[in-house]
Amino acid sequence: MKTRVIGKSVPRKEGREKVTGRARYVDDLTFPGMIYGATVRSAVPRGRIRGIYFEGDIPWKEFTVVTAKDIPGKNCVTLLIEDQPCLASEFVNHPEEPIVLLAHPDKHLLEVARRAVRIDIEPLPAIFTIGDSRARRRVVWGDDNIFKSFHVEKGNVDSVWAAADRIVEGDYETGAQEQLYIEPQGMIARFSAAEGLTVWGSLQCPYYVHKALMPLFGLPKDRVRVVQTETGGGFGGKEEYPSMIACHAALLAWKSGKPVKIIYDRAEDMAATTKRHPSRTHHRTAVTRDGKLLAMEIDFTIDGGAYETLSPVVLSRGTIHAAGPYNCENVRIRSRAVATNAPPHGAFRGFGAPQSVFALERHLDRVASAMGLAPDELRRKNFIGEGQSLAVSQVIREKVDMGRLMDRAFELSGYHEKNNLFAETNARSTIKKGVGFASFLHGAGFTGSGEEYLASEVAAEATRDGIIRIFAASTEMGQGTNTIFSQIAAETLGLDCNRIEIIQPDTAAVPNSGPTVASRTSMIVGKLVEAAAHEIQNKLFKSELLEPDYAAADFSRACNRYIEKFGALASLAKYEHPLGLHWDDQRYQGDAYGAYAWAVYVAEVSVDTRTAEVRVNDFVAVQEVGRVINPVLAAGQIEGGIAQGIGFALYENVVWQEGRMVNNQMTNYVMPTSMDVPRIRVLFEEVPYAGGPAGAKGIGELPLDGTAPAIANAIAHSTGADITRLPITPEALMEMLEATHA
């Protein structure tokens, strides 16, 4: 499909503001009379609050103080269910749980005051591991510590074991990961008699925040307004957590009568907000002698922390992706999200899939090794094709050619040549080199009937000058939303991108296009942008004010005449679920996602056996994504995701002590610097998906699934170390190297 603007690396729409320092993030904003807010939190993982004491030599009368009993409506942060309090009232269930809110004009005095609040908590026994939670050593949530569980069945797993040539089992673990957006979380809230409640902040989902604020105060929807400020990174960390801060800022604003700004410092942000769910997976796989997968039995558990928040949805995606892009007739997946006394874990790019895909891709390499097969041989024998079905019995109806993606990835990376070379050179060196890969898929959009439930909408409006304004709730946080939406609208209407204006997400102005998550922005919301633009065009055609082969000047003239004649020239596009997509929520089967991106990633590593330090020397990422709307932005997504995946694999280790992250400083929780990332080569293939704008599928989360397992496999090949856990710290690897040598 030939396009004029789509497929071009149109410059970032808000780029000028960003490179001049003029882009306004929440902490850059001030309001007249604004004061600052801070949160006093539990130091104890679980307990009963006995008393709150305001001590020290502090002028407490100057402070606004809010506790649970001040909350006018429901004391909860509304998400899927209502188990998470906005402020703990009688019990606390995790370290850092918010209990008291303070506000004052002097933000430094506020800090002194924060330390002077003493909260007397009678400790209760707490649990911190998946093992203890599953064993019900203590029941800390519900009747059984289980937020949610799933059971997927395909074929007849039990019939296969007896006759299988080989059965291979394995246990895999991943740790928590902090999103580490460089802009810490923050919100400003203001109450006014005229407008009601308005909040401004760093966030991904304005309507999630809107939904959480209403019941806190018992306010109707038109008395609550949420405005997204320029957001300095989200990655899922600002999907659900901002609702909590918004509620806090709003409570202080409501009680003080002043605008209140809450900005977390890095230490608080790391300790108190969400992280990627830790996971444990057990694989049991039956194979034929020549590597055909006969059965896969997978047991997958994620640690949700103290409250449910989004754990069922993370579990869902992790479960559906657990068996990968392979054709296996018999699959059983049992999964569950369990409670522990840590701050609730939450959304982080990939959302369950990085965890289950790590387990799968490590496991399949180990299966290959056990069978004496090359890891790529094993994959090729089992890659799914059109007409075959995934573990959830979704029949693949698109042209997928994983073998070809693998060919290209191996060609670009020199996989086989390097394999042979390193086998030889490693013997003579204390530096061991290796290559490894992962083959995987990532579904775009909300699972199953999720998109129908979201019922997203996008509006468009033309001005008299022929400028098209797009109203969507999708937030720009660096991934390029503003730019690609303008490209899509510009393409549809035959205009230049600078004739498209993307309206700042503000619940008073934009309809609910759903959250900016789940790799849905290009594919699902972008399609609605396309539809809304089309509708404007159709109105102009129908009115006969515009001919089909129009020039840009004609368009502006037509808009002007239309508005004069008929009033507003506007459209509203509503989500339409693709025909033929069916999902059974009870049996967890059917068409889980409208489309998948498919990928093969290859990592080359070197391991210095003297220090067990791993360097990623080279990285190749090949993926089929439907249609690349903007090559520079798309590559940027993949490269950035790979860097986060390198962190997930090697560097990002959350150190826990009694449910609390103790290395909550950037000095001690390390993400990759410019010296730690290799040359990254990105290649896109395109098999257009009719349900996406110009054929585009989603790509935002994809790189998080395959990066860590590719690296883990490379390390395993280079050293023989049997990696089964992330992160692969030098300390852990050193132990493995010594064991291998002993």
Partner: protein, 287 residues
């Protein structure tokens, strides 16, 4: 920012003697403040207990690097950037130049000072092992006068220093005796840049007729203070560079260091890495 910033005092004396005078007038009350790369982190974390600081940043007389026939004397306020940029210093004392290059990023190197690094006394600091390997001497100055001591005797325990109230580090003196030596510096950190070290190894050695004529081995992050591995050095001195010497030396090294488990690493790892780096150093010596 977790401190009540308004409660902190900072005075800027016009010259060095005014600074010393301030430090001596209420000894212990006022502390010198150089580049701030350590102290400001504490301030931001709400952990800077001390409240009164003498700003010595502008004292240019403490920022000179003097080259004389026998020594290079580095002022205590010399920054890492200056160390890296000084041709003779970097060439003759490459361990120190390497340490400077591995201390934080460019912005940290522009503000971090050698004196500040020494006085902060972190066992994980990057420069002290290099200074130990080079038998550096430290000059301490107060209103009572100046005294020199071997840097080796400066750190007496975790965050304990051979420093009297009212004293300031004026200079670090390095004997220019590194001709014919081979130098080996390796910092093993949490990542390749801007990392706190897990093990820091700074060593230099000289061969004569295939034997180790002299050797200096210093380590950071493996004890409460940066240290010279004197027993290991003694074992190696005079030895032929054969692998037979290595296991004994590694055993000695393990006995001399006292690494701990902390949130960055483990004692086991640190010990094993220190031993492996010793092996690597000996390979470098062998050429």
């Amino acid at each position: 920012m977790r401190s009540f910033v308004a409660a902190y005092e900072m005075e800027t004396p016009s010259d060095l003697s005014a600074a010393l005078e301030r430090l001596s007038r209420e000894p212990g009350d006022w502390k010198p403040f150089a580049g701030g790369t350590d102290l400001m982190v504490l301030l931001e974390a709400g952990k800077l207990a001390h409240r009164r600081f003498v700003n010595i940043w502008n004292l240019e007389e403490l920022r000179r690097i003097e080259v004389t026939p026998g020594h290079i004397t580095v002022g205590s306020l010399v920054t890492y950037t200056q160390v890296r940029g000084h041709e003779t210093l970097s060439r003759e004392f490459s361990l120190l130049a390497r340490a400077a290059a591995e201390t934080g990023g460019i912005a940290t190197q522009n503000r971090g000072t050698l004196g500040g690094n020494i006085a902060n006394a972190s066992p994980a600091a990057d420069s002290p092992p290099a200074l130990l390997a080079y038998d550096a001497q430290i000059e301490l100055l107060s209103t009572s006068g100046s005294r020199w001591l071997p840097y080796r005797s400066f750190h007496t325990g975790y965050k304990k220093m051979n420093m009297r109230p009212g004293e300031l580090i004026r200079a670090i003196r390095l004997p220019r005796a590194t001709d014919g030596w081979k130098h080996y510096y390796r910092k093993v950190g949490t990542r390749r840049a801007q990392a706190i070290s897990k093990v820091c190894f700074a060593a230099a050695g000289r061969l004569e007729d295939g034997r180790i004529a002299d050797v200096r081995i210093a380590l950071g992050s493996v004890a409460p203070v940066p240290l010279r591995a004197v027993e290991t050095e003694t074992l190696l001195r005079g030895e032929k560079l054969a692998s037979a010497a290595l296991p004994a030396a590694q055993a000695a090294l393990a006995g001399e260091i006292a690494p701990i488990d902390d949130m960055r690493s483990t004692a086991r790892y640190r010990r094993r890495v220190a031993q492996n780096l010793l092996a690597e150093f000996l390979e470098v010596l062998a050429g």
